[in-house]
């Protein structure tokens, strides 16, 4: 059941008002994703002081600056690596990573698979708009085949990633996908991710109206959002549905959820056991002398 707390939730209490106006383009889906994240934080009653948001470089990377919490804007592709250190050092914090398709799957792809493998408690929101928006619209690892970008002027000819399949294959214990069209469902998914006791990878299909949309003549933001589950999903997801007969049936929601030991807890338990062993052997040695 989706709890409708929308009327009580005031996003402004979670934003740094002094940072407004924000820099996102009109029609960009990233603001919707940001709102959904903060709404989930509100519903879970998380203390803002216990929330740490780490973000990389790109349009998605800029979002952390707008959140009134502990925020860390880091180098391109590395937010998961920075967040790993942060989460290990401060297990009491809720660590959220906001990243984009280029940041997470291209320059930082290595960190993603290792974060999935390790299963440290982190919530990773990857906002997928199929393009490097901030630098003006270059091809990214999720750009659908045949789509136009500034570096694929005759259409992209490279196969693209299905990020959720990749994360699941790399061992992520929680994988989910949602579109910015369904805000309450997106909030619900992020909420489940925040509650998951391990690494949660959430892909948000967002829209880049100004750059990707214009270049590919995809219409207004509203039109793009309405088609997110049909023909505007990345081409890598084509095989996952009965296209074209059930074209709106893009798998969304929680796609993978498994129980695996959380790395931070497992590490602390192992470290404590090792310390106990060392202490015991020191005591034994003392007894001999």
């Amino acid at each position: 059941m989706i709890v409708d707390s929308a009327s009580a939730f005031d996003v402004r209490t979670y934003l740094r008002q002094e940072m407004m106006p924000h820099f996102l383009c009109p029609g960009c889906g990233h603001g919707i994703a940001l709102r959904a994240l903060l709404w989930a934080v509100y519903e879970l009653g998380l203390d803002k002081d216990k929330l740490a948001v780490v973000s990389g470089i790109g349009c998605a990377g800029r979002l952390s600056a707008y959140i009134d919490a502990n925020t860390f804007h880091v180098t391109h592709g590395r937010p998961l690596a920075y967040a790993t250190g942060l989460a290990l050092a401060r297990p009491d914090l809720h660590v959220v990573v906001i990243t984009g398709d280029g940041d997470c799957l291209a320059i930082g792809g290595n960190h993603l698979i290792h974060a999935c493998r390790r299963n440290l408690k982190l919530t990773c929101l990857m906002l997928n708009n199929e393009v490097y928006g901030m630098t003006g619209g270059q091809v990214s690892p999720t750009t659908s085949e045949t789509r136009l970008t500034t570096t694929t002027p005759l259409g992209n000819s490279e196969p693209n990633f299905d990020a959720c399949t990749l994360a699941a294959a790399a061992g992520a214990s929680f994988v989910g996908r949602e579109v910015t069209h369904h805000v309450p469902k997106l909030k619900q998914l992020i909420r489940a991710g925040l509650e998951h006791p391990g690494f949660a990878f959430i892909e948000v299909l967002s829209d880049c109206t100004e750059i990707f949309g214009r270049k590919n003549e995809l219409g207004s933001s509203a039109e793009m959002v309405l088609r997110q589950k049909s023909e505007l999903r990345p081409s890598a997801y084509r095989d996952t549905v009965d296209s074209p007969f059930r074209s709106s049936d893009l798998p969304t929601g929680i796609l993978t959820k498994t129980e695996r030991p959380e790395y931070g807890a497992a590490y602390r338990t192992a470290a404590a056991a090792q310390r106990a062993r060392l202490a015991a052997s020191t005591d034994q040695n003392k007894g001999r002398t």
């Binding site: 600056a65 804007h73 320059i107 630098t135 570096t151 002027p153």
Partner: protein, 416 residues
Amino acid sequence: MLKQIEGSRAVAEAVALCRPEVICAYPISPQTHIVEALGEMCRTGALPGCEFINVESEFAAMSVAIGASAAGARSYTATASQGLLFMAEAVFNASGLGLPIVMTVANRAIGAPINIWNDHSDSMSMRDCGWIQLFAETNQEALDLHIQAFRLAEELSLPVMVCMDGFILTHAVERVDMPSLEQVRAFLPPYVPRQVLDPAEPVSIGAMVGPEAFMEVRYLAHAKQIQALGLIPEFAADFRKTFGRDSGGLVRAYRCDDAETIVVALGSVVGTIQDVVDEMREGGVKIGVLAIKSFRPFPLVEVREILQHARRVVVLEKTLAVGIGGVMSMNVRMALTQVALKGYTVIAGLGGRPITKASLHRLFADAHADRLEHLTFLDLDRKVVERVLDRERETRRSGPIAENILRDLGVVAARI
């Protein structure tokens, strides 16, 4: 042919005329327009016989360029700032292997704090990695240097970095004289690799070398740069013959002959300094400017010959060697071994701070009267600095410096 185009476009067209066979691209401002234009040329057939690869990072960009170059392809990439730092391991590898890759660096500051604007910190961080480093003053020179760079790289089997000021040059629309393909062909012979991965004649590239030979291999890298000191002016002269204009070379001295004060600088700021020099000359001040065109190899002899007759040298640089002062100053001092001369280092324009004629007038007047500190930060706001230091004295947990300063100044990141 005269054209009124953006600097990035001019460089892209010049690179295309050199007929590279592999181009690697990863977006980073302010370089992106160059590879975008080349991507378009590859796909539309304007640049035939070239593979354009959209790679997953700068590290991959340089690695792919190395692979392509080792296979005998004329290879090119472009980057800036964090991108250059991220590819650093491969940058050293390219020069260590002696592969003639040409790379444009659209000079930009290095974070943290994140800053996309121009200074020279990026290419200066790679100054000793074995690449030849050429600095362009204008868009025309940036264009011309790329043509010379391919010839120089392939002649020496060494990679060449062409550095041009981000935004100031890359995004400025200026008139340039674009050569024809025939002219470029006449100047740049086809690439004949010294080493190539060829199944017909197998070799192994990338040997592990121990103490028995490592020094010699490294010395040869230096010896090649010394060879470049001869080739750079030779190719610049040849370039003049083919294209009818002066571009490149090791250094360019402007009104230095009788100068008592000589300013040494790199890149696009030389034009502004030249204007100030002209204005001060009208007021009877004997001042000149020496533009360094080739930073690696560093032209010690030429710099010494020009500077030794002056009374003082002001090195104006867009890089801060944190903990000592200037990067270029240290190189200039090396050129001035045993020459008695007053020396000033001026750090200017970091992170895109404008270097204005008004500030330069004051600065050079102070230098000319020997009233300048030996290390000066042009237009540094001391009040802002003091406020941070006060805060740090008052409280242990004073917070992140950059954010505090933005707050003090009343600016927020969204508006920068």
